[in-house]
Amino acid sequence: MNNPTKLPKIEQLALAREKLKSLGKSPTLIGKENRLKVFDLIYRWGYTTSSIAQGYLGITKGGYLQKLSDQGLLKKTKTESGKPTHIYTLSESGLQEAERHAESSIRYIEIDPYRINQQLLRHNLIAQELTINSLIAGVIDDYISERTLAVKDVAMQKRVDVVWKKAQSSIAVEVELSKKWERDLDDFILKIHSAIADKKYDRFIVFSDSKAIVNGYAEAMKPGASVRIWQKNDRGNWKTESTMVVPAWLIDKVSFQLIESHD
């Protein structure tokens, strides 16, 4: 099939009209729906990028978020690292619109973009993009972002990066870009074990751009491996209190996926 962007403009317009007609919706309605989708996306994640939003909306042409920013519905902010160059957050009016249509209320600190932790930008955007990709591919039905999970935080249970919903299943997703060691790794494994044992989540997927991290975590979670349980002593120092042997079922409930690094 021919690439629509390589066709003459008049034919592109014809194709677009055909597509609109097939949807059975007016352009205004489609535009409103897209806007609400963007608001919902940003509300649930805090911020997004132009490429993620376009992929979510299925728009090939760029500049949609810029347009919304120009309309005062979004705020465009430059990143410190330059990767991505800009991120988009909700403005006051955008936030109002988003809250009016939201299913649950989330505290939106990103109304001030400078409160965003720039160190976590890459991590959070990867998690966002993986989620949107899964939605578009139809492998998941919905998701719960970390900021929504924060509302229902429970002690001793890992707050995952995002939870994917597929039918009755809840799949916890972790994006690991830097390797955990010692107590952090033990805690990581214990909290995954606790979350699955308590049936909070059915499975875990650990995404990483490092083969070493993936292999390392897989090795640490293999059946029979020993995991230390840490506890603070009277002087506030972390000490090993006891150990747990990793059960055989844990590795079957955790999947590891390598993602391409595009740095």
């Binding site: 990028t49 490429s51 992929g55 330059g82 990767k83 991505p84 160059t85 955007l125 990867i126 993009e129 993986l130 989620t131 990709n133 899964s134 578009i136 591919a137 492998v139 998941i140 994917w164 597929k166 299943s169 799949i171 059915d202 499975r203 997927i205 995404f207 079957d252 999947s255 996926q257 390598l258 993602i259 391409e260 595009h262 740095d263």
Partner: protein, 275 residues
């Protein structure tokens, strides 16, 4: 002196003669009073002895003679007072009254003669000694029987009747006793038979109970065996179901894992672009 001597000798002679005379009297009287009156009564000799005892009344034989005379007198008076007169008394009266001894008899009381044959002895020795000769007891017996014959007949009849009744009663009682005994034995026999019957019934009942228990036991065993077989089948079924469930779970798990892996791959299909 000689006069004195003659007097003494004469006195001694007299005394001696007196004593000799006394001995004779004693002997004579003794021979009379010692006569056994069962043989005869020496009335004549007694008169003579009475005369002789006039001087020697303190001597024992004389006292005995007086006693005998008293006896005769009493006999006579008793017989005189007996009405009707018996043969004995008639003989006594006839003999004594006609004899001179009547004149020397003392006055006395008249004890009555026994009018029944059950006396031990007659009032006097004379009457006793002569009673057998004149069959006084028999005579009195006959009179007495005659006197009470109606009563005796009645008594005899009553006695006979009584005896008959007694015998009859004894027989009747014996009959009754025998009857009662037979009845008792019959009852005992019947009781024994009934007891035996009851024992037999009990034994039959026990046998029937044992048999029914055995049947119930067998049925229970069969049911338990059946239940065990059902349990075993259920267990085997459960094991098979668990095995199947495990296999299904493993298959589901594998399928889920595959799905998750596909999910992960789909997620990374469009990886973040370089900015």
């Amino acid at each position: 002196m000689t006069k004195k001597l003659i007097m003494v000798l004469s006195f001694a002679l007299l005394v001696g003669c007196a004593y000799k005379e006394q001995d004779k009297v004693i002997k004579k009287v003794e021979s009379i009073v010692n006569v056994d009156w069962d043989e005869y009564v020496p009335l004549d000799d007694m008169i003579i002895a009475h005369k002789q005892c006039k001087e020697y009344s303190e001597l024992d034989p004389c006292k005995k003679l007086e006693s005998q005379l008293q006896d005769i007198a009493t006999s006579l008076e008793s017989c005189k007072s007996q009405i009707p007169r018996s043969t004995l008394c008639s003989a006594v009266i006839n003999t004594i009254s006609a004899h001179p001894i009547e004149n020397i008899l003392p006055e006395t009381d008249a004890p009555s003669m026994p009018q029944h044959p059950f006396y031990l002895s007659l009032p006097t020795r004379l009457l006793d000694s002569q009673s057998r000769r004149y069959s006084y007891r028999k005579e009195v017996w006959d009179d007495w029987i005659q006197k009470y014959r109606f009563l005796f007949r009645k008594m005899i009849l009553s006695t006979i009747i009584f005896l008959v009744a007694l015998v009859w009663f004894k027989i009747y009682k014996k009959e009754k006793t025998n009857q009662a005994e037979m009845e008792r034995r019959k009852i005992i026999r019947e009781q024994k038979i009934a007891a035996q019957k009851m024992r037999d019934d009990e034994a039959r009942k026990r046998e029937a109970e044992a048999a029914s228990k055995l049947i119930i036991e067998q049925a229970k065993n069969a049911e338990q065996k059946k239940l065990r077989e059902i349990e075993r089948a259920e267990i085997e079924l459960q094991i098979a179901a668990e095995k199947l469930a495990a296999e299904e779970a493993a298959a589901r798990e594998a399928a889920e894992k595959l799905m998750i892996e596909e999910m992960a791959k789909a997620a990374v299909k469009k990886s973040p672009k370089k900015k």
